[in-house]
Symmetry: C2
Subunit: 261 residues, 2 copies
């Protein structure tokens, strides 16, 4: 099992608090020692930091931890390898350009029979994971359905969610996917989310003793949604997603939600 972390916000927001909690699970409070990665947007540009070392030992992770990353869309992942060796090309998040945007994606779970079921022609994977192949397959399905970028991008994300539900038939498929504007979360078995807005309170990380007072870090208009495999704080109420459910966020707000039976 890997762990996912995503964020969608209406103003560039510091992810350090949540990311610090996630990194603790990378080899210290959790077994996810086979690499980690984070991708975040600055405008249309996406930046990513990755490492094959456990996040609790990684020098790059230390930089990210102290670096004041402010972004409106973030996708992050710590890995416990099951398919594909411990190599940089197998480390999430994966990034691919489409329709003039950088798309970032991370997967938690494991698929079976995927090599036969998921054939791709143009979006060929670089690494050897089921996860990256599923990403390539999703983007190919998307461009088959929409040869050019649809005006209403939410439609595209709803279509991706329906295809993610097909992937769920091959095993466990929890997924985060973003084009920098929208953040989509699809749940196969483990995914939770929380939207923070005024009045902001305090929260304590489950995986360390770090307490944050969000009121000091935000303005009254901020809307910040965090998505994670398991709740990251112990004194807030997280929404636990159901198997086959997706949620789609834009600027921190939930704009679409559906439960595939």
């Amino acid at each position: 099992m890997c762990e996912l972390l995503g964020m969608s916000a209406n103003v560039p927001t510091d992810i350090c608090f949540s990311f610090a909690g996630l990194l603790e699970r990378g080899g210290r409070t959790g077994p996810h020692k086979d690499g980690w990665g984070i991708a975040f947007y600055e405008g249309k540009g996406a930046r990513s930091f990755k490492d094959v070392l456990p996040s609790c030992e990684s020098e790059v992770a230390q930089l990210v931890r102290s670096y004041p990353i402010k972004s409106t869309s973030v996708i992050s992942h710590i890995r416990q390898a099951n398919r594909g060796g411990i190599k940089l090309e197998n480390t999430h998040p994966f990034e691919r350009p489409l329709w003039g945007r950088n798309w970032t994606y991370a997967h938690n779970g494991q698929l079976t029979g995927y090599k036969k079921a998921l054939s791709v022609k143009t979006q060929l994977p670089v690494g050897s994971t089921d996860s990256e192949l599923a990403f390539c397959w999703l983007l190919e399905k998307l461009t088959e359905r929409f040869p050019t970028r649809p005006k209403n991008m939410a439609t595209a994300f709803r279509f991706i969610a329906s295809q993610a539900n097909t992937l769920r038939q091959l095993g466990v498929f929890n997924m985060l996917l973003s084009d920098g504007v929208y953040v989509l979360a699809f749940c196969s078995n483990n995914l939770t989310w929380i939207t923070r807005r005024a009045p902001f309170g305090k929260a304590t990380l489950i995986d360390s003793d770090w307490i944050i007072d969000f009121q000091k870090e935000t303005t009254p208009n901020d809307i910040v949604t965090v998505i994670a495999t398991r709740p990251l704080t112990k004194d807030e109420t997280w929404n636990v997603m159901q198997s086959g459910e997706y949620v789609l966020f834009k600027q921190g707000e939930l704009i679409s939600q559906k439960h595939f039976p």
Copy 2:
């Protein structure tokens, strides 16, 4: 004018010495203050660090400078913006996946009439530079000529070089491009290269007082080629490329070279 730096080597090699020289030009000894970036390969995986801050002030650049990057293929760039704002999405190197490989690319120069001349359908640029559009156009031309990956990849790179020569007709087009195995350099007006092999000697950076004794850093079998806009060291002989010339390297060795009239 921006500055380019590339490397091709037969063993994972430390780029820090050359990169330190390049970074000095980013706002200190040179005028290239509008961002910088470096992409390097670890196996099939590519890693990149970028920033819109001048390299001599950038926190990320400090990390890269002290980080022991060892790679066989590197593409790097410091930017003085002419086309496209100072934004992350306009910062080189650009990366795109093709044929199961990560392709990285950086351009130095300026094109005119490029929006009309370079039409693309599938490889749509994310940012607004002439450079990224030229990269997208090159990859589209490549997949038009080779719908699937050719067995002999050197053929693909020679084709790209011929297309780069077409781009030279639109202005100044100095380019570095790699798929992680091959490193291609195309010269429009400013590009030099040097291949270091046994017996290794000492060299002094032009842009700082750093002296390196390559003999202490290498084994007798190492072959390391460095490509740069201007020579980086003052006590070695660099090959100055001609306008319309390309050189193609694999594992540090020059494997193809041609001068388009």
